[in-house]
Amino acid sequence: MLSTDIQEQFLAKLGAYRDLSLQTLISIIPDREPKKYLYDLVTLYPKRGGKGFRPGLCLAACNIFGGTTAEAMNSAIALELFHNAFLVHDDIEDESDDRRGSPTMHAAHGIPIAINVGDAMNVLSIKPLMHNIFTLGPNLTWQVFSEIEHMVLESVEGQAMELGWRQDNLCDLKEDDYLRMILKKTCWYTCIHPLRIGAIIGSGGAIDADMFNRFGYYLGAAFQIQDDLLNLIGDQNKYGKEICGDVLEGKRTLMLIYLLNSCNKKEKQKLEAYLAKRRVLRLPDETEWVMRLMKKYDCIDYGRKNAQNLAGAALKEFYTVFGHLPDSEDKQFIESMILYMINRDY
């Protein structure tokens, strides 16, 4: 665990960056109609109090490498908008009910409106990136665009992998498949690119951003596995999504893949049959049976250990990448984030 003081400092910094980026994000949303069916909804998810990891990492990295919070703000809010657009569309694709403690966008406003809100968020995120040209100049603006293009493409490819696995009910997946999928779906856009973009801006383009790839991957993987663990065993009031929702959705988490590779033949057949059903046809007692099976094969412990191993690796990489830099609040912020990723309960 992080000591209480350090954790409070980390949360305060995370909250400050989140609030600042949210304030700026809201300021770029067009103040015109149609509000009820579009622009009021664009800020719905951001205002629900997401953690703000992505803008936080981007802004902190920019400051660490010599830039200012203001210089990276356009890129930080673009990251947050892309993230929230992903969430709106993911929730539809996953048929999820809850997001950050309230009904998902499509549950509250219908699928057609929700799809359009997600599209709008993607388009709106382009504008702050275009505005970079006035504060960063053409070369850095171009570099940030290149980063974003790679980030978005990787994310949709990762999402396609996961959706395809579920659609075709693949049950012979291995740990490697999962690691590749989360690299593409989660890690590039949650950790690697926010760090890269922040450092590129902060250094005026002088930094070799590849140095963050491994650190960001380990950090993002630890984050994703912890998120999947919380979905299985978390407190719904804190976590904000329905517990066991991933099992109900047939999501190929590390724990489910481990279970499929650990259980006996009879259990696997039953599990495959459960996963082959549509979500609405999966019965509560069947889902409880999957949870009991996970307990039988220590899947939670397996996931937790792997998240801790990846966090340990991220910590080592942190010292390699950031160790030579002078101590600062932002450096401590990123260091603290590593353990926060695996100790958080929401």
């Binding site: 382009i126 293009e149 600062s328």
Partner: protein, 241 residues
């Protein structure tokens, strides 16, 4: 494509024991992490290999994209109307969308700014356009300030529209520095506010900065925006010593 395979020479993190010199520098207590970083972990080794594979694949993809860019060089060299027409016809190609919008923005940064409002630091005298329009929106306070001190920065704005009167109401975010120290947004005021600009005219607004007592030293920045002019946006840099 930003990512390149430059890390192959380095061993995956968890394959190496943590060195003494790698101890946390910022006083963080890593209780509970135990010896996790000491032992080689199968999942970390796998992750390292997968990352290298994916990055290598990305390099191939980058070359394909470069080839695609070569094809649009001719268009990019043409006028922006032609480019926008092409964009409207082929709006699904996101890569070209981003690239070509950037190109337009770079080539027309001056005209983009002038179409809305030109911002120039200093008084109304002189009247010359800054040479590099990209640099215009960064406003430096002309001298460093101590806590409790105040300063006014005159800013000139031009309305290049030949027909529209522009009424600009200024607003700004809080000032923030790299250490997360903040100065309340109310520390900055504008005279006049709003500023009314007749078509084709210049006008000046004084940005008054009052650094509060007790403000910590640092380089503070904030965004200044025109509430009703969506593209009027500048960064104000104030150094508190």
């Amino acid at each position: 494509m930003p990512a390149k395979a430059k890390q192959k020479a380095a061993e995956p993190a968890a394959a190496q024991p943590v060195q003494e010199k790698s101890a946390p520098a910022a006083g963080i207590q890593f209780e509970g992490l135990g010896n996790l970083v000491d032992g080689a972990s199968k999942i970390v080794l796998k992750a390292a290999n997968i990352l290298e594979e994916e990055i290598a694949r990305g390099i191939v993809a980058a070359k394909q994209i470069e080839g695609k860019l070569t094809d649009v060089q001719k268009l990019r060299g043409g006028n922006k109307e032609e480019l926008l027409t092409r964009f409207r016809q082929d709006a699904h190609d996101v890569i070209d969308l981003l690239i070509d919008f950037t190109t337009i923005a770079v080539k027309n940064a001056g005209s983009l700014a002038s179409r809305i409002i030109n911002v120039r630091q200093g008084g109304t005298e002189g009247g010359q356009q800054a040479e590099d329009p990209v640099q215009i929106p960064l406003i430096h306070a002309p001298k460093d300030l101590k806590a409790g001190e105040a300063l006014e920065v005159p800013i000139t704005l031009e309305n290049d529209s030949k027909t529209d009167v522009k009424t600009i109401e200024f607003t700004n975010t809080a000032l923030m520095d790299a250490s997360n120290n903040q100065i309340d947004a109310a520390a900055i005021t504008y005279t006049p506010n709003p500023l009314v600009l007749q078509p084709g005219s210049n006008g000046s607004v004084n940005i008054a900065i009052k650094v509060p007592d007790g403000a910590k030293p640092g380089s503070y920045t904030c965004f200044i925006q025109g509430k009703n002019v969506s593209n009027l946006k500048a960064t104000l840099l104030v150094k508190v010593v």
